[in-house]
Amino acid sequence: MIPSIYFISISIFIFIAGLIIFFTKKDLIFVFMSVEIMLNGINLFLLSLSPNLKSQILIIFIITVAAAEAAVGLAIILNLSRIKGDVEVDTIRILKG
């Protein structure tokens, strides 16, 4: 059996990678994907800390909900690109107070 430290390290690596992509990329699609990567990193982290049936069920639910969210998020991005022409993160400032 593989020691859980490998799983922990790889989950932390995935999370950090997502974090870096989030702050460096300018394309909204990438930013969006990085969020999903971070989420799955955390999922793996949870599973590696307590590898049992309950966490597996919980993660299946999280992934289902995340898929639904992804559909909504992609729809928003699609509409944004139709209105605006591009999906540059730094130029979207509709929520400025």
């Binding site: 974090l19 989030f22 702050f23 909204l28 930013v31 993160v89 730094d90 979207i92 400032r93 509709i94 929520l95 400025k96 107070g97």
Partner: protein, 631 residues
């Protein structure tokens, strides 16, 4: 067949059709609506009749459907009872109600609100049956409010007319004053007796637990409700205005059934009123004064329906007079016969109005005898019955009331009753002479369209005319060879002292009231047939008195000055002084504060996704760091 399995179905049928008609009014044609509305009331009548015969064999019954309210020691059941008093009312409500439903098919035939009209009418029948069949005060109050609501809806049925909408509002508000007293009476009863069931209340009174002073308080408070609903002084003002509604409504609600609910209530609580001398005195005096007061206003009015409205108030005053004199059965007797002949009078007045293209001013009628060969004789029968001409129903019931007033020792009320009988005969025959005799005063255009009403309207009229003639024989007095079946039928519910009286005195009293009525008819004949100029001369000579009567003693104006105007002024002060300045001020100030705070705090929002992400990360790190530090 047992009575208790059957009788509680009586109010169910109109309730069902009240739900069905509005739901399916789009798919039902007029015929379907009529069938549903009339059929349901007819079923109620059939069930009432069967229950009545079962009652004769099996005695009264009570049916508890379920416990409606149970809060500590307040227990109210949804329960019905069928005893002689309820039986009389259920038969009158469903029987007369059915005839008026049928009549309405003809009268309302061309109205766009046909289905709405029958929905309201069925809802009314349901509420009224609930009122008369309930076995406790709380459920009775539900019916009491229900009929008030239907009255409001039907007075304002033609809501696009301002006068109708206002009349409906007036009826509702004036009734609210009465209902407040009624509700207080119910609460007093509960705190005294501990139950609202009529049987428990009666046992409590029979057991001698109720003190006279408490009986007076409860009796007077309940009577306030009756004053409102039955349009007695000083809350009668809504009834004449209620004539804005369709004529069959005036016949059913504002003459035959709903307005007599007060009399029913007083009869239902007869033990209570018998216990309190003061409460009975008040009932009798208010009834007597109302009778003569509103009859005097009826003498000079010109609107055919308003004359009948004042007559209704006056006749209900009679019933109250009978109840207050200790003869509740005579009040109920007059209620029954009055339902027949007053419904008849209203419906035939409706037939006249229908024939004359909605003309209601009797100065623009005249000579209609030959145009309306069915309406005229039935109207005449109704007028003779209400005037108390021997042989017709009104004679028996009215004389019984006058007899009881005479025997109760309040002779002046008896004198008032006799004078009122004369005035009643006068205004009824004034109506007949002005509408059916004399010159034809209507416009040529209207005259061209005069027609007798269709069969669907005249047949109910003929049936009601028959009932107005024979209805009195259910209570044929002993002096005339009867046994007064009506009184002995009610004797299990209404306990009355019987006053021995010689037949010769009874004949004398009957003779006096008949002579009074004949004098009234003679004066009407003198005024409107023999000497048509005489009334105008008299009106000029006694101008002050005539104006006072014609303007209805200025009561509407006085109420307007005393209650309506101050309320409006006070409300306006509250609106402008309190609501607009203070309450709205607080609301506006808090909104402005939130706005200002928001505009400062919103500077934090850059709108950039990455800034939000960074702040989020920072927050997470801080929280995680705090936990780690604590470990």
């Amino acid at each position: 067949m047992r009575l208790e399995d059957l009788f509680w179905l009586i109010p169910l049928f109109p309730a069902i059709s009240t739900v069905l008609i509005p739901l399916f009014s789009k798919y039902l044609r007029k015929a379907g609506v009529s069938l549903l509305a009339c059929g349901s009331v007819f079923l109620s009548f059939i069930f009432s009749s069967i229950s009545f015969f079962l009652l004769l064999n099996q005695g009264p019954a009570k049916k508890i459907l379920y416990e409606w309210i149970a809060v500590s020691n307040l227990k109210i059941n949804l329960s019905f009872q069928f005893d002689p008093l309820s039986a009389v009312m259920a038969l009158v409500v469903s029987g007369v109600g059915f005839l008026i439903h049928v009549y309405s098919i003809g009268y309302m035939g061309k109205d766009p609100g046909y289905a709405r009209y029958f929905t309201y009418l069925n809802l009314f029948t349901f509420s009224m049956l609930l009122l008369v069949l309930s076995s406790n005060l709380a459920l009775m109050f539900v019916g009491w409010e229900g009929v008030g609501l239907c009255s409001y809806l039907l007075i304002g049925f033609w809501y696009h007319k301002d006068s109708a909408a206002n009349a409906g509002k007036k009826a509702f508000i004036v009734n609210r004053v009465g209902d407040f007293g009624f509700l207080l009476g119910i609460l007093f009863t509960f705190f005294t007796v501990g139950s609202l069931e009529f049987t428990s209340i009666n046992e409590y009174i029979k057991g001698g637990h109720l003190s006279t002073s408490l009986a007076t308080v409860i009796g007077l408070l309940l009577f306030v409700g009756a004053v409102g609903k039955s349009a007695q002084l000083p809350l009668y003002v809504w009834l004449p205005d209620a004539m804005e509604g369709p004529t069959p409504v005036s016949a059913l609600i504002h003459a035959a059934t709903m307005v007599t609910a007060g009399v029913y209530m007083v009869s239902r609580m007869n033990l209570l009123y018998s216990l309190s001398e003061i409460a009975s005195e008040v009932v009798a005096v208010i009834g007597g004064i109302t009778a003569i007061y509103s009859a005097s206003m009826g003498l000079v009015q010109n609107d055919i329906k308003r004359i009948l409205a004042y007559s209704t108030i006056s006749q209900i005053g009679y019933m109250m007079l009978g109840c207050g004199s200790g003869s509740y059965s005579s009040g109920m007797f007059h209620l029954t016969t009055h339902a027949f002949f007053k419904a008849l009078l209203f419906l035939s007045a409706g037939s006249v109005i229908h024939a004359l293209s909605d003309e209601m001013d009797i100065r623009k009628m005249g000579g209609l005898r030959k145009y309306l060969p069915v309406t005229f004789p039935v109207f005449l029968i109704g007028a003779l019955a209400i005037s108390g001409i021997p042989g017709l129903s009104g004679f028996f019931s009215k004389d019984e009331i006058l007899l009881s007033a005479y025997l109760s020792g309040r002779k002046w009320i008896w004198i008032i009753g006799v004078i009122t009988a004369g005035m009643t005969a006068f205004y009824m025959f004034r109506l007949i002479f002005l509408v059916f005799y004399g010159k034809e005063r209507m416009d040529e255009e209207v005259k061209h369209h005069i027609h007798e009403s269709p069969k669907v309207m005249t047949i109910p009229l003929i049936i009601l005319a028959g009932l107005s003639v024979i209805g009195g024989y259910i209570g044929l007095p002993e002096a005339m060879g009867g046994r007064n079946w009506f009184r002995s039928f009610l004797s299990s519910v209404i306990e009355e002292e019987s006053h021995p009286i010689s037949h010769s005195t009874e004949y004398l009293l009957m003779g006096i009231s008949v002579i009074s009525a004949l004098i009234g008819i003679y004066i009407a004949w003198l005024f409107y047939i023999k000497n048509p100029e005489l009334p105008e001369k008299l009106a000029k000579k006694f101008k002050a008195l005539y104006t006072l009567l014609y303007r209805k003693y200025y009561v509407d104006e006085i109420y307007d000055f005393l209650f309506v105007k101050p309320t409006l002024k006070g409300s306006e002060g509250l609106w402008k002084g309190i609501d607009l300045s203070t309450i709205d001020g607080i609301a506006h100030a808090s909104a402005k504060g939130a706005n200002a705070g928001g505009s400062i705090l919103s500077r934090i929002q850059t709108g950039l996704v990455k800034d939000y992400g960074f702040l989020f990360l920072l927050g997470t790190i801080i929280i995680l760091g705090y936990w780690l530090w604590k470990l």
